[in-house]
């Protein structure tokens, strides 16, 4: 976005000349020693005024564990507990429906929110969720649903409507860029500010001195004043002796949740107006952003940069990685995998095929290989690792983001040699990563600690790909073509339509997480839906103008935004939003354990049809759909039912899913991978 011009790292870095992964002395003219950073001057304020909640330290993602593709259950439970107690505090008000019990329905939520904005936005989201997820019923349900939601919408000013209403879960993230074209640059400051504030999610990273490091939205002139306020707030709650747990962690206004991650020399702040996002979720997102920064420069470099000069401008060092941070910001909120403790998504693959790949990874292993990975889009195919080392899920999450959310590597056949720090593996040094997409979507990622290992890893990749072709796992076709695919995996998914295997059991979509392995499996998101936003517009002629005002504005701006993008909206964020809500349901009350928990929420698709458009929306079809989270010892099962499926049926379906997962165990999970 061109408004970023000012903050572009290149400009900041253009006059630099010395080389640095290690920041050399001449970088920093000697300065008089400073005893205490200004913002950290002890302010002897009472530590916690009522509206601010100090959260339990739940910041890290899958914090402690580092087994290959696994996380010990105990650790997991600890996290969960921490989270639960955190949520127990009643001060977080963004997601008013937390406390709603089983009977909570979408429709019943909105009116309970007293503040217009919160309710309105919640409704918008729900509306979007409905419109997308309930696509299967769109002939009747959606239209009716939209009509009702619209009709019951709380009144608000038109300007608000114009700005906010098009921002659903997805267009929130999408609007990040689509709204920020050149015209934004030309727009008057006030307008830009307004636009900046209209985003539903913000991420800020700043140095302890208040210097900007990264901001999801806005340019310097807009962001910097905010940073002043942010660092003032954060620092006024930090005492020199305070540990992380005593620092300000989260606070909320009626509409917005603020979560702070204070990891000196950096402060990270996330704000969200999305429903059901809790401090835990935001904190996990921030933590991953922090990891991304570390993966670029390592902890020692970060520390030493600020040690010598408190007001160091970190953008000089992380220059060029903004797109990576940005794509994290864009994709994290809707990432199922991230939501579930960065669990790895595994490519469903015949066990014998996976074994072949694992064997080849060992057989062709280059001497200096540390990890070898075969990846499919956002899914792990195979992994080999030393017996004593393991890959942490959040490190892998960073890798996936790097490979699949940024276009840097996507070119098939181009080989890359990337110095990368995997912070959970070792935040003090770089590993060197060989990346090659050997065919569309399939990447060979070979990690070594030896920076000279490129050629041996390259050779290993050649043998691997050759081997996979010989074994018939990858077609022998041309050099780059879509026909080259891992047969039993992607092929099954794309061609044979490995689809929702239990779709017929009344479940629309589901995710199963293996808690011990920290892996998830799910069918493809049903319905690669086009954006449904234009729908209401189509109806609008028939609908009372007074009713549709807010939504008409939204749909038009929405479709404008959609014009810029390719209209295809990833529905997964709708599901994520429901998973998040379920997760919150289960974890809201402080529980001693999560064993055997089950939570239901009911998603209503309201029946009252549009009064004037009865031709398109058959009247009085009112069926609810159930969403369910079942936590058992080995699994967490998230499921959304088809319309009209009862809870009993859902439970039966979930049993089927579990049975299916158990039967497919070897195909669905990667246990341990190949070790050497």
């Amino acid at each position: 976005m061109s408004t970023r011009k000012d903050t572009n790292p290149k400009e900041n870095t253009s006059d630099r000349h010395s080389d640095l992964l290690t920041v050399s002395e001449d970088y920093f003219p000697p300065l008089p020693p400073r005893s205490l950073p200004a913002p950290q001057l002890p302010t002897h304020l009472p530590a916690r005024p009522p509206p601010l909640s100090h959260r339990a330290s739940t910041a890290s993602l899958a914090a402690k564990a580092t087994t290959a593709i696994s996380l010990p259950e105990g650790v997991y439970a600890q996290q969960q507990d921490g989270v639960s107690s955190g949520n127990a505090s009643g001060n977080v008000t963004t997601a008013p429906s937390f406390s709603e019990g089983d009977a909570g329905s979408i429709r019943s939520i909105a009116p309970t929110v007293s503040t217009a904005d919160g309710g309105e936005e919640g409704r918008e989201n729900l509306e979007m969720m409905l419109s997308e997820i309930l696509e299967e019923d769109r002939e009747d349900g959606i239209l009716a649903g939209l009509g009702t939601l619209r009709a019951s919408a709380l009144p608000r000013t038109t300007t608000e409507a114009d700005d906010y209403s098009d921002l659903d879960l997805d267009s929130d993230s999408e609007s990040v860029d689509s709204h920020s074209g050149d015209e934004e640059d030309a727009a008057p400051e006030e307008q830009r500010l307004h636009h900046f504030r209209s985003h539903r999610k913000h991420f800020f990273i700043l140095s302890a001195a208040g210097k900007p490091v990264f901001s999801f939205h806005g340019n310097d002139s807009i962001v910097i004043p905010h940073l002043g306020a942010i660092s003032a707030i954060i620092s006024s709650f930090s005492t020199p002796s305070s540990s992380t747990t005593d620092n300000l962690q989260s606070f909320a206004t009626p509409t917005t949740l603020f979560t702070v991650l204070s990891l000196p020399p950096l402060y990270l702040l996330a704000t969200s107006t999305l429903p059901y996002e809790t401090p835990y979720h935001l904190s996990a997102q921030l933590s991953l952003l922090h990891s991304q920064i570390l993966s670029t420069i390592t902890t020692p470099t970060l520390q030493s940069a600020f040690k010598n000069r408190f007001n160091f401008d970190l953008r000089r060092l992380i220059g060029g990685t903004e797109p990576i941070l940005r794509s994290l910001c864009t994709h994290l909120p809707s990432s199922t995998s991230h939501l579930l403790s960065n669990a790895l998504c595994i490519l469903h693959l015949r066990a014998s095929h996976r074994r072949i790949i694992h064997n080849m990874l060992i057989q062709y292993r280059a001497p200096s290989l540390l990890y070898g990975l075969i990846l499919a889009p956002h899914k792990l195919v195979a992994v080999c690792r030393p017996k004593r080392h393991s890959l942490h899920p959040s490190d892998l999450q960073l890798l996936f983001n790097l490979l699949y959310n940024t276009p840097t590597f996507a070119e098939v056949g181009t080989e890359h040699w990337v110095p990368l720090c995997l912070p959970k593996f070792n935040d003090k040094g770089f590993l060197h990563v060989y990346v090659c997409f050997f065919t569309e979507g399939l990447a060979c990622v070979l990690v070594s600690a030896d920076k000279e290992a490129f050629y041996q890893l390259r050779e290993m990749r050649e043998k691997l790909v050759e081997g996979m072709k010989k074994a018939g796992l990858v077609s022998k076709g041309g050099h780059a073509g879509k026909d080259m695919i891992i047969k039993a995996g992607i092929l099954e998914e794309k061609v044979k339509g490995y689809d929702n295997p239990v779709a017929t059991w009344g479940v629309r979509h589901w995710v199963v997480k293996e808690r011990g392995l920290v892996q998830i499996t799910m069918p493809r998101c049903p319905g690669r839906m086009k954006k449904k936003r234009p729908k209401p517009e189509a109806l609008s002629p028939g609908v009372d103008a007074g009713q549709i005002t807010p939504d008409a504005g939204s749909s038009s701006t929405g479709s404008n935004a959609a014009d810029n993008t390719d209209t295809e909206v990833d529905t997964s964020s709708r599901y994520t939003s429901i998973w998040r809500r379920l997760w919150t349901e289960v974890h809201t009350p402080p529980t001693s354990g999560v064993k055997g928990k089950i939570a239901f929420i009911t998603i209503d698709s309201p029946s009252e049809a549009l009064p004037e458009s009865s031709s398109q929306a058959p009247q009085s079809i009112s069926k609810q759909r159930q969403a369910l989270l079942h936590v058992t010892q080995p699994y967490e099962i998230y499921a959304i039912g088809r319309k009209g499926v009862t809870r009993d049926q859902m439970i039966r379906a979930v049993r089927e899913i579990v049975r299916w997962v158990k039967r497919e165990e070897e195909r669905v999970w990667v246990v341990g991978g190949a070790t050497f």
Binding site: G320, P323, P407, A410, T414, V418
Partner: protein
Amino acid sequence: MADNAGAPKPSSSVKLVLLGEAAVGKSSLVLRFVNDDFQENKEPTIGAWSHRPSNFTLTLISAAFLTQKCNLPTRTIKFEIWDTAGQERFASLAPMYYRNAQSALVVYDITKPSSLTKAKHWVAELQRQASPGIVIALVGNKLDLAGPANEESGVTDTEEEETQGDEENRRAISTQEAKAYAEEEGLLFYETSAKTGENVQTVFEAIANAIPESTLKPRGAGGLGGAGRGGAGEQAPVNVGDASRPKEGCAC
């Protein structure tokens, strides 16, 4: 070599490294050379990123390795190209890439004076640290922005505020200035446009021609690390089978 008289032309591989400040167009040059392709707005222009997956920057955080053959009248040169990231923090990794390179392309942006300064630093470093016979070409890229007809209204150079004011001709470094410097240092010198393709092929051919026969190695030689670094696995083995083993004897 001798025994393989039937082979069309002797073929040898030449390791080439691209160096230069960030966003001068290194990746674009390579892309033009390797694929004869150009991607508009290929800089990591921040906001546009996620909506233009087709626009990629090869070397945002990494070095990319590409190969391309270059046919000369008497022989075939296979370039093994290291396209390095221009970002400052990667500078310390550069020696790894240029250590055994037979040739280097030092790129600057003719609209951006600081980039020539940086290029001079690279040249100095190469002359000091790289292998003695290294062929260095100084390349001023973005020639398309020089002419009045080619005004780009900032599309390809959004990062340079100060140059955008210049309506007609955004050139900030004169050909004479750069050429004089190149001659002084004994460098090949070209001005190119990755966007139009102007002179791109020429640069690589010139380099290929300038590589002394004596330094040509059989294809695949020249590891990332020391050439001597022993393991058989080190060197690209697929290519080693190449029949020509012309230490110096290849036809000319």
